[in-house]
């Protein structure tokens, strides 16, 4: 705003151009490379002179394609399955986090039984816990303690209906991964949503209550619609973490519940770095966040600034 009247200098536009290239260059590079054969990527016959091929994508998606690509000898990657796992885990944990976080934020703001300071404090405390710190306990608990005996009532039922062997443990299930993601994201979501709920005038809620609405109805019919922007921001952030996370998922998932980041890291196996396929899987993993960024950047920025500036 300050110098809007002054004429912009060409160097300024050059700087912006450089910044834009730097920001999206690597992504574009990955996009281009994902359409190249490995030989083209490695040999370095540079740049844009190459014959685009969808072989890498065919190879990555071989388990969900309706035809069998001739160059794929056997389908080892199972990307489709991992993609579905990632979707289930990210969507369910986002929805759960939002519902639970929203309720908690509402209670904390409206019923004032903990100071806002205490909440921000504990939010920050939890925010500082790195996923790596959770690795050891979560690994131990999910595998050994959070289990149902297979002889027991519920455990036995699950084993009978679902198959599988051993005690029924959280590790290796979608639920196990979802649980830890919800827990990891809750503090942040509560924090963001609080700052939106605070702005809702109390009179609105009281009016509804006078009309005979109970606390839950007030919450769902009055409060929720008013904090939609906050919800959108929180949803994107939660989804992003659940979609992108690798470490804990890799400790908790088994062969049926692998998510895409695990698949990508696994596929960078040392015997055979297949850059083309890796880039293709990376691109597929990056598509949902890219879409969010393009269509909801306003909400993302709101979420980021609400998280830091108002905190």
């Amino acid at each position: 705003m300050s110098q809007s009247n002054t004429r912009q200098n060409p160097a300024f536009y050059a700087l912006i151009a450089v910044l834009v290239i730097m920001a999206i260059g690597p992504v574009l590079l990955m996009f281009v490379n994902s359409f190249k054969l490995d030989v083209d990527i490695i040999s370095g016959t540079s740049g844009l002179l190459f014959l685009p091929t969808i072989q890498n994508y065919e190879k990555a998606l071989c388990d969900v394609l309706w035809y069998e690509p001739s160059h794929v000898e056997f389908c080892s990657l199972k990307f489709g399955g991992a993609f579905i796992n990632s979707l289930i885990i990210a969507l369910v944990s986002t929805v759960l986090t939002l519902i639970i976080g929203c309720m908690a934020a509402y209670a904390l703001v409206r019923f004032r039984f903990m100071g806002r300071d205490t909440v921000s404090m504990s939010t920050l405390m939890v925010r500082m816990v790195p996923p790596a710190v959770l690795l050891v306990p979560v690994f131990g608990l999910w595998n050994n303690e959070f289990c149902l005996d297979k002889e027991g009532l519920i455990g036995g039922f699950i084993r009978d209906t679902m198959g599988g062997r051993g005690d029924v443990c959280l590790a290796g299930t979608h639920s196990g991964i979802i649980l830890i993601y919800v827990a990891m994201n809750l503090p942040f979501v509560i924090w963001i949503l609080q700052s939106f709920i605070v702005q809702i005038p109390r009179s609105l809620e009281e009016a509804a209550r006078v009309d005979g609405a109970g606390p839950f109805q007030v919450f769902f019919k009055v409060v929720l619609p008013l904090i939609k922007p906050g919800l959108a921001a929180a949803a994107i952030f939660t989804f992003r973490i659940a979609w992108n996370e690798y470490l804990l998922a890799s400790a908790l998932s088994d062969r049926d519940t692998k998510t895409v980041p695990i698949l990508i890291v696994n596929n960078m196996s040392e015997f055979n770095v297949e850059w083309g396929v890796i880039m293709a899987t990376g691109m597929l993993l990056a598509i949902p966040p890219i879409i969010f960024t393009l269509f909801a950047s306003r909400q993302i920025i709101t979420g980021m600034t609400a998280g830091a500036v108002k905190g």
């Binding site: 809007s4 490695i42 920050l124 816990v129 992108n244 500036v309």
Partner: protein, 303 residues
């Protein structure tokens, strides 16, 4: 009486799910980890079977040169990353704080690196740093310059650059938001007094942005200790231990060396370090508020 009781219970009912989940999936695991850090615990044992060894894990770690090196790498990484990101991010914000037609598009493009999975960021940079086929060395080669052994001799620098790429936009956007919410009056007054652009920045903008900047820096600092996937994919901590940050070492100790007890103790060291930082951040915030209150009080007295 029943409605009253229901009313009294409502907040608890709203809070209960969150509290339960946090308790079983965050607090209990943290306690479990502290308990486990006093044990000689391998992944094939349950915690009950593991032998209690007191502070042995903590002492072993304290005397372990590899742990210390890894701690050093972590601190170096965090320091450089935050410093450069702050300088570049704030600098860009000051530069670009003007009415531009495409500003919102620009911001959108800038957030892209942050939204993409760290695993993917790691693999993009691993490719770009590749000694022979990578983008940078090819570019250097083309320019007739000597190539650089990015992930070999200069691995730490290379991962720092990658992190700067990914996270500078975070600082940029927050500083921009802070800049744009500065009181106009102060800036107007300065301009009328004939302050140059630099003087405005140094004497007015930066001091006014300071509280936000410090919170931003601390948030970023805390996050810098969490970085793992990018480095894992790019270097796996090598060469030597030159990029083995603590988070990575914890995960290697747990999975590769199969020493859960030691990994838990290491996690605790990291937590204590971060706790220190968080408390510092909070104390600073509080200080700031107190100072602001005092200033306000002084102003009111003046009137």
């Amino acid at each position: 009486m029943r409605p009253a009781l229901a009313n009294r219970l409502t907040p608890y009912m709203f809070l209960a799910p969150a509290a339960v989940i946090m308790a079983i999936a965050l607090l209990y695991p943290l306690g479990y980890m502290i308990w486990g850090s006093f044990r000689d615990w391998s992944p094939s044992q349950t915690i009950g079977e593991a032998e209690f060894v007191g502070f042995k894990n903590y002492i072993t770690l304290w005397n372990d040169p590899n742990f210390r090196e890894s701690l050093g790498v972590t601190l170096k990484f965090a320091f450089f990353v935050v410093t450069f990101e702050m300088i570049i991010g704030v600098g860009l914000a000051l530069l670009l704080d003007r009415d531009l037609r495409g500003m919102s598009l620009l911001r959108t493009l800038f957030i892209l690196p942050m939204m993409i999975a760290p695993v993917v960021v790691g693999l993009m940079w691993r490719y770009m740093y590749h000694p022979t086929v990578g983008t940078y060395n090819r570019l250097l080669d083309w320019l007739g310059l000597p190539t650089v052994d990015w992930l070999g001799q200069h691995a730490l620098m290379s991962i720092i650059i990658a992190d700067i790429w990914q996270w500078t936009p975070f600082i940029f956007i927050l500083s921009l938001a802070a800049l744009q919410s500065l009181p106009r009056s102060a800036l107007e007054a300065a301009r009328i007094d004939g302050a140059t652009g630099w003087q405005q920045i140094i004497h007015i903008k930066l001091p006014l942005m300071m509280p936000v900047l410090i919170v931003t820096a601390l948030l970023r600092l805390i996050d810098a200790f969490k970085v793992l996937e990018v480095i894992l994919v790019m270097t796996e901590g090598g060469p030597g231990l030159s990029t083995e940050i603590l988070a990575l070492r914890i995960s290697r100790t747990a999975t590769e060396f199969r020493e859960l007890g030691v990994a838990a103790a290491m996690s605790n060291y990291l937590l204590i370090l971060l706790l220190g930082l968080t408390v510092a951040m909070f104390a600073f915030n509080r200080l700031q508020e107190i100072r602001a209150a005092r200033v306000r009080a002084a102003v009111e007295e003046d009137e």
